[in-house]
Amino acid sequence: MSVLRERVTMVWLGLMVLTCVTTWGLSKDLFIPAVGVVGIFSIAAIKVSYVMLDFMELRYAPIPVRSAFQAWPVIVAAMILGFWFATPSLT
């Protein structure tokens, strides 16, 4: 087993890169808040998905269970963004 060729390693690298993008990129003042927030939570949902599919091995799980779990990041991100847009602006 070559660690470097394992799928989980590729996924890990991707997750690490996405983390840096959101933490030290999208959160900065380069972007207007709406763009930053939508980007950050969309990426968070994608990261959660990959953890579910490839770390938790839900990719190979029975479809009903996989679908139920995959709905979670979508619902959570949508809920957070829904609240965010409903929250009055500070400016």
């Binding site: 087993m1 660690v3 394992e6 989980v8 390693t9 996924v11 890990w12 997750l15 690490m16 983390t19 840096c20 959101t22 933490t23 030290w24 999208l26 959160s27 808040p33 709406a34 930053g36 927030v37 950050i40 939570f41 968070a44 990261k47 959660v48 953890v51 579910m52 490839d54 770390f55 938790m56 091995e57 990719r59 190979y60 799980a61 029975p62 479809i63 269970v65 139920a68 779990f69 979670w72 990041p73 619902i75 959570v76 809920m79 957070i80 609240f83 965010w84 847009f85 409903a86 929250t87 009055p88 602006s89 500070l90 400016t91």
Partner: protein, 203 residues
């Protein structure tokens, strides 16, 4: 050509395997329940934030974003290490399993140390959970998550000890799989908690 549908099996280059959940089915009930509970907490947090965006934004700025980001990288690495342990276990590479489990446990410990430093920073600044609604949520969400990390790290340590005695192998891997699945839950929860508390800029 296989006559079994894709909903029941996974077809790879060399074999067809039935779809399965790692570990025991019951642990997925717990993982599912915990996920739903946290989703409810996230909604509750956003509801509290809706009523007090200025306080939440001002308090958010006092959080250590760099440390939080590093925490995310640490936990992702921890999950990766544990995932490698399971892959090694499936292929009966028994000698490699302990080091991956140890990697998982040590990175879990790193997270715990980092969080402790963060909390002490806050206490030194005179910030307590009761200081305002944001901080109540910050300490509660990260605190409950931290308890999950402590529990998970203990389980990983236990697995590490037993794996060194060659207890687990490809036909005896239910317990490691259960613990690994739980650990990935801990990881994915932080993936949401971190931007929710630290990065979420106000409009």
């Amino acid at each position: 050509m296989s006559t079994i549908s894709d909903t029941e099996v996974v077809t790879t280059d060399d074999r067809v395997t039935p779809r399965r959940l790692p570990g025991v089915d019951g642990v997925w009930v717990a993982i599912g329940a915990d996920s739903v509970i946290f989703a409810i907490l996230f909604a509750s947090f956003m509801q509290a934030r809706l009523h007090n965006p200025a306080v939440f934004e001002a308090s958010r700025h006092t959080l250590n974003m760099n440390l939080g980001g590093i925490d995310t990288l640490v936990l992702l690495t921890s999950s990766w290490s544990v995932a490698l342990a399971i892959q090694a276990l499936k292929r009966d590479l028994i000698d490699r399993v302990p080091r991956y489990l140890l990697g998982g446990a040590l990175t879990g410990l790193m997270f715990m140390v980092s969080k402790s430093i963060e909390y002490f920073e806050k206490f030194a600044q005179g910030i307590r959970p009761a200081t305002n609604d944001f901080y109540m949520w910050y300490f509660t969400l990260t605190g409950i998550h931290l308890l999950h990390v402590v529990f998970g790290t203990s389980l990983l340590s236990y697995l590490w000890v037993r794996s060194r005695r060659r207890t687990y192998h490809s036909l005896q891997r239910v317990v490691p799989e259960c613990v690994a699945s739980y650990w990935h839950l801990v990881d994915l929860l932080w993936i949401v908690i971190f931007p929710l508390l630290y990065l979420q800029k106000a409009a």
